[in-house]
């Protein structure tokens, strides 16, 4: 439960940062995607249900505030959260390379899905150009922020649930604790 609440606040803070502060620090016309980091990290660390929860909130916020049609971002984020939840089997606490790879792949997947939903449908066919100019720089920029955020979530989780409680198959045991 503590995890749900802390995640909720992290999402709100991440969303606020992303819409207000980050546009001022953009590089190559690209801003990092904090919401993807949160969705991927929560799914990866705590399992499918958490991925779904975080994805639903992130997508819902984005849709309600900025999109014309509600549902598209929820769809994308929920799928990403779920896939990361499956990858939860690969989760080990001290390893940093796999979660970062997960975040990068999630961001690319987000780019591709968003492109398919919003751009390909309107006849913008030059996928490679979008891939090179938007998706890849965004993924790289996101990883840089992802390292810190992932570490932070990790630290926060350690504070909320002291280490001796954590067991390896914690997805089943701890979801509703």
């Amino acid at each position: 439960m503590k995890r749900f609440i802390s995640m909720f606040f992290l999402i709100v803070i991440g969303f606020l940062l992303q819409t207000t502060v980050f546009p001022h620090i953009q590089l190559l016309n690209v801003i990092p995607n904090l919401l993807i980091v949160l969705t991927a990290a929560s799914g990866f660390m705590w399992g499918r249900k958490f991925g779904l929860f975080t994805g639903f909130l992130c997508g819902g916020l984005m849709d309600c505030m900025y999109n014309d049609v509600i549902g598209i971002c929820i769809f994308i984020f929920v799928v990403i959260g779920y896939i990361n939840g499956i990858a939860n089997k690969l989760y080990f606490e001290d390893d940093l390379s796999i979660p970062l790879a997960a975040i990068a792949i999630s961001d690319l997947l987000y780019g591709i899905l968003y492109y398919i939903c919003m751009f390909l449908m309107r006849g913008r066919l030059n996928m490679i150009s979008y891939f090179l100019n938007i998706m890849v720089p965004e993924a790289i920029y996101t990883i840089i922020f992802g390292i810190f955020i992932y570490k932070f979530i990790h630290w926060l989780d350690g504070k909320l649930y002291p280490p001796e409680e954590v067991s390896l198959d914690h997805e089943e045991n701890k979801l509703f604790s």
Binding site: L16, Q18, T19, T20, L28, F56, Y66, I70, G71, I72
Partner: protein
């Protein structure tokens, strides 16, 4: 002893339920846009005030970044020069506009009002889109300040975009460089019509695309484009930008090219909303 046995649902069923919900709510929000406004306004009323507060931090960071990249004195000097330049360009524009008003515009379109005389409301941009795919932003003026849907938004002396959604105290604006945006324009010198549309692919070069110009029209690089009388959302005569690199379309019927917007979209903080909606009821009825 456990107090309760918890009901556990396999996450994959939750996923399916959420995905079905997405499809349903997508259809509802597409088909009945008005039904979604309560939900949207609740979210906006919670989030937007927080964004307003944090945005000052963002601005400060932007300023700090500026100082890092250039020397302080140079920034100041630059600002002074920029101010001077702005004044001069506005003055110049005004003179040109006046002259133009006298010469052409009235005769051609019988417009008796210029955008400069229209009632305006100043607004501050409090947040922008969270992803890299679209170009919309939220301003801190809404229905209470007299903002309505389809009002035109300007910054400095150029067109920025159009209001697409209004809340009580906030409004969402889609800028003309958004990939979804299309504006019907007129080229000043030749009074040819054209379509100015945002293009994400071209945005990295700081231009947007312009198309639909008659193939026989001879237009020089740097010709100014203003909003057309024919557009049924945009008020006529608002400057959009300058044309360049025109070439024949693949269809060989029209010409297309690039347009450099007058407004520098990377650094706008303040905008003006023209509180007058183009009266296009008749046109809409005809189109129906």
């Amino acid at each position: 002893m456990r107090k309760k046995t918890k009901i556990t649902i396999d996450p994959k069923y939750i996923l399916v339920i959420i995905l079905l919900f997405c499809v349903l709510i997508g259809i509802i929000s597409y088909r009945f846009e008005d039904k979604m406004t309560p939900i949207r306004s609740v979210v906006e009323n919670v989030i937007a005030p927080m964004q307003k507060g944090i945005n000052t931090v963002g601005k400060r960071i932007a300023e700090q970044r500026k100082y890092f990249t250039t020397l302080q004195t140079e920034v100041k000097k630059n600002e002074q020069l920029q101010e001077q330049l702005n004044e001069l360009t506005i003055e110049n524009k005004q003179l040109r506009q006046n002259q133009y008003e006298l010469d052409n515009f009235r005769k051609l379109y019988q417009v008796d009002e210029q955008y400069a005389n229209l009632p305006k409301v100043a607004a501050r941009i409090i947040s922008s889109d969270p992803d890299n795919w679209s170009n919309t932003f939220i301003i801190d003026k809404g229905a209470e300040d007299g903002i309505k849907k389809n009002m035109n938004v300007m910054a400095g002396e150029g067109l920025v975009g159009i209001v697409i959604r209004v809340n009580n105290s906030y409004a969402k604006v889609r800028s003309i460089i958004d990939d979804d945006s299309e504006v019907y324009g007129t080229i000043l010198d030749s009074s040819e019509n054209c379509i100015v549309s945002g293009d994400l692919e071209l945005m990295k070069n700081g231009v947007i695309s312009v198309s639909g110009i008659d193939k026989n029209a001879e237009i020089e690089d740097g010709a100014e484009v203003v909003t057309s009388q024919l557009s049924y959302k945009y008020l006529p005569g608002i400057p959009i930008g300058y044309i360049r690199d025109l070439e024949k379309d693949t269809s060989n019927v029209t010409q297309k090219g690039y347009l450099t917007p007058i407004v520098d979209f990377s650094s706008i903080n303040m905008v003006f909303v023209i509180t007058e909606v183009k009266a296009s009821n008749e046109l809409e009825e005809i189109l129906k």
